[in-house]
Point group: C2
Chain length 314, copies 2
DNA sequence: AAATTGCATAGACAAAAATCTATATTAACA
DNA sequence: TGTTAATATAGATTTTTGTCTATGCAATTT
């Protein structure tokens, strides 16, 4: 029961012309205001009249007066053109919204260096708004499944989501202890030596834990896990409190401070790990997302490597 | 500040196709439901996309998913097509309404014979609804100036309105008196004899008064107006009450009864008057109005003349 | 009566729209 | 690996749309 009248009544141009005639009350004046010749307008009105099956106007004392049919068509024309005007406004809002917001979801550890990436990018694109979501790996994977962000940052990317990735930074995992710790005084340590100490472990599901467990398994060793802690900061403070030792991202030390902590010279370390930028294969990047990706590819690795080098010199 | 987006975004056909794709969630299925080939639909979607300046859809896990831009355009398409659907309904109502209503505005006196005209016409067109407006001449002229009716009936048409007319019936004006009136016993009377009797006059502006005044003026006579009365019925009852004599349309006697009244055999009477159908030159007659006019031309005069002849025999 | 004004119609031309057949590309499935 | 299904692209053809110049017609004005 869907009407098909639109298929034969009125192109957009004809509706426009109709409104001009209605507004001006004259074929000639309408033609002038549309920068057309009078016959053009006359013909278009005739076509509309033929299509709709009745006269759109008549002359009363030489004055052009719209018929009821004509007035109905004027009403429809106004509605239709208003619909398009609203579309224009809506599109304007979308354009304004989309290219100005960059959405990132990153695992907690990367919060130390991501701002160093964003800084120069925001200088280049001062109007861009950044939405940065920091969460543990589990939460970040959940967000990625929903596809609501432009990029995701992991050290151990999920394997069950179709995504493209860019490896952009090393993420070495090192062992640390309190500066007064006995192992801290040795020049060279074996991984086996760590297994005799209370070990503070990151939570299940975290990328760091994956890497640690893999390493110990590879050497048929098993750490004496004393505690499982979900936060890098908390782990660091536990070590400071002489509760045990741990293996942790070097970035945590680089960026987060290392008061009273020493890095242990373990022969099997650091664990060779990396940071990855990921985005959904199935989602087309926005313009600003593409620009950011290009920025990372061009400058990102160099930028962050300089930062790490600076910290190593301290 | 009127948006011009409609000039380059979306012909009706394209909007239709967009909605089919949105409904079916597939280019191929949309093509099938519109009895088109797949490339046609693909191309039209591409044209829309190019016109609007962004992608309308993307593929997520091989599933066609509309973008925000696409969804806005879907919304607009629905609005636009709904507008045309409403136009279809409105036009249907107009078609239903217009040909079934015949509008007449008539001066009071003609109310006696107009139904005799309408009767046979309504038999021929049983679905036609008649809107009959009866009023004095002044009110009927006012309506005519507004042009809201199909026809107007006068015995003395207004001269200041551009109209076409059809003279369709004689309207003889005759003198009447109470049956006991002295003049009623005479075989032949002069117009001057009427001037010695109290005269009951119709109201200013009435066609009957025009004719009466013209006749007396023509003979340099002046009636002794005792009373001015606005209604034919009232005048007749005044005469029955022996308040005076009058000159009145013969139709009033023919159709309205004449108990206790006699027609006076005045040499200068009856006044030669006519009934006219008028319609505005500037207004195009509806189909039903044209049919009624044809009916009047064909049968009207004969119909009414027969009625008058029948009364005269009584 | 001639001039002016406003609209309608005829004929022509260019551009745009609508649609098809043929083919290429890609991803998923057997 | 080959097949199938779905979409995109290329090229061609027909139809429709939009617009113009030229002219006709009717009513009003000068």
């Amino acid at each position: 029961m869907r009407s098909r009248i639109h298929a034969h009544v009125g192109t957009m141009r004809q509706l426009e012309i109709l409104l001009a005639v209605h507004d001006q009350g004259s074929i000639n004046e309408a033609a002038k205001s549309l920068f057309l010749t009078q016959p053009t307008v006359s013909i278009q009105m005739k076509k509309l009249s033929d299509a709709i099956g009745g006269p759109l106007y008549q002359f009363v004392n030489r004055k052009l007066v719209f018929t009821d049919i004509g007035l109905e068509l004027v009403k429809t024309s106004v509605e239709v053109l208003d619909s398009f005007a609203r579309l224009d406004v809506a599109l304007g809002s979308l354009r304004k919204f989309k290219p100005s917001t960059l959405r990132l979801a990153v695992v907690t550890t990367s919060k130390y260096f991501i701002p160093h990436l964003l800084g120069p990018f925001c200088e280049e694109f001062p109007d861009v708004e950044i939405q940065l979501n920091i969460g543990n790996r589990e939460k970040t994977i959940e967000r990625m499944k929903q596809g609501v962000d432009d990029f995701y940052v992991f050290s151990h990317p999920p394997q069950d989501i179709e995504a493209q990735s860019l490896e952009f930074l090393d993420n070495p995992l090192v062992a640390i202890a309190h500066e007064d710790h006995p192992l801290g005084k040795q020049k060279s340590i074996n991984l086996a030596d760590l297994c005799e100490q209370p070990f503070l472990m990151r939570e299940k599901g975290s990328g760091t834990r994956f890497a640690i467990e893999a390493l110990f398994q590879k050497h048929n060793l098993k750490p004496k896990v004393k505690m499982t802690i979900e936060s890098n900061e908390a782990i660091k403070h536990a070590v400071m409190s002489k509760l045990g030792i741990t293996i942790i991202s070097a970035h945590t030390l680089t960026y987060g401070g290392q008061n009273g902590l020493v890095r242990l010279p373990v022969k099997e370390l650091p664990i060779d790990s990396h940071w990855f930028f990921l985005w959904l294969s199935a989602k087309r990047p926005t313009l600003i997302a593409s620009a950011f990706l290009k920025h990372i590819k061009t400058n990102g690795r160099e930028l962050l490597q300089n930062e790490l080098d600076k910290s190593a010199a301290n």
